[in-house]
Amino acid sequence: MSDASLIDELPGELLMWVLIVSELLVFGAGLTAFMGVRLTDPAGFAEAQSHLYRTGAALNTGVLVTSGFLAARALRWRHAARRGAARLALIGAALLGVVFLIIKGAEYAGKAAQGISYETHPFFLFYYLLTGFHAAHVLAGVAILLLVAWRDDPRNIEAGGQFWHMVDLVWILLFPVIYLLG
């Protein structure tokens, strides 16, 4: 099989796949650095991690995978010429993105109320950096989902969905490392 045909096998926009791989590499490097720095103070990292709001973060996993489901469904519906259903699914996916950000905001507010900042411990520097960068992607994803709900060409919906699934994928990898591996 030639390289050209292998690349042609990728579903959706090639440039979105370049973005997905780039983002996975960036977050992968960040999480690996996090685990590397953890080696210098495992007890301190475990203590710092105990201050995290795990239930909210687990809830956010359910919120994002459900949102991703709606975004994937929207593309199928658009291909079936069910434009109204596709638009509603995309708006629903975006609203769940907003729910994710509200829960994340409450988590950050709780940390601030406890006097915890990125300077408190190296753990929190990585925590704010990685979860904050991810939250910025969620914010961008919400805007993209609303944009493709408006300009609902199937190719637009597919590209917007790819971005949103990338955000989902990064969270699936980030959540266990930051919140659960104590």
């Binding site: 292998l6 995978v65 459900t66 991703g68 699936i172 990898l173 659960l180 591996l181 104590g182």
Partner: protein, 91 residues
């Protein structure tokens, strides 16, 4: 037996199953953290479940099941990443 028992699932069915699988795997991760076993097996289990979830997202949401070679490639890279994270966790 009725014919629909042998019908191939539609794309919509496969998406719904993928979503249900992701929720089930997330619940399994939460339950695993409550298990009265050592932190190392729990850590390994949590990473394995995360890997399964990532594969479901790649295969079904991102539609890589239509391109098995790419799905295998992504799975290999993510498995290597999970193994590296687990090795750092065990040190």
């Amino acid at each position: 037996m009725p014919r629909f028992f042998f019908a191939r699932p539609t794309q919509a069915d496969r998406l719904t199953r993928a979503w249900a699988g992701l929720i089930a795997l997330s619940l399994a991760s939460a339950l695993l953290t409550l298990m009265p076993v050592g932190s190392r097996p729990v850590g390994g289990g949590i990473l394995l479940l995360a890997l399964f979830k990532a594969r479901v997202i790649l295969a079904r949401y991102l539609d890589l099941e239509r391109s098995p070679a790419w799905l295998r490639g992504f799975t290999l890279v993510l498995s290597t990443f999970a193994a590296l994270i687990f090795a750092l966790y065990l040190v």
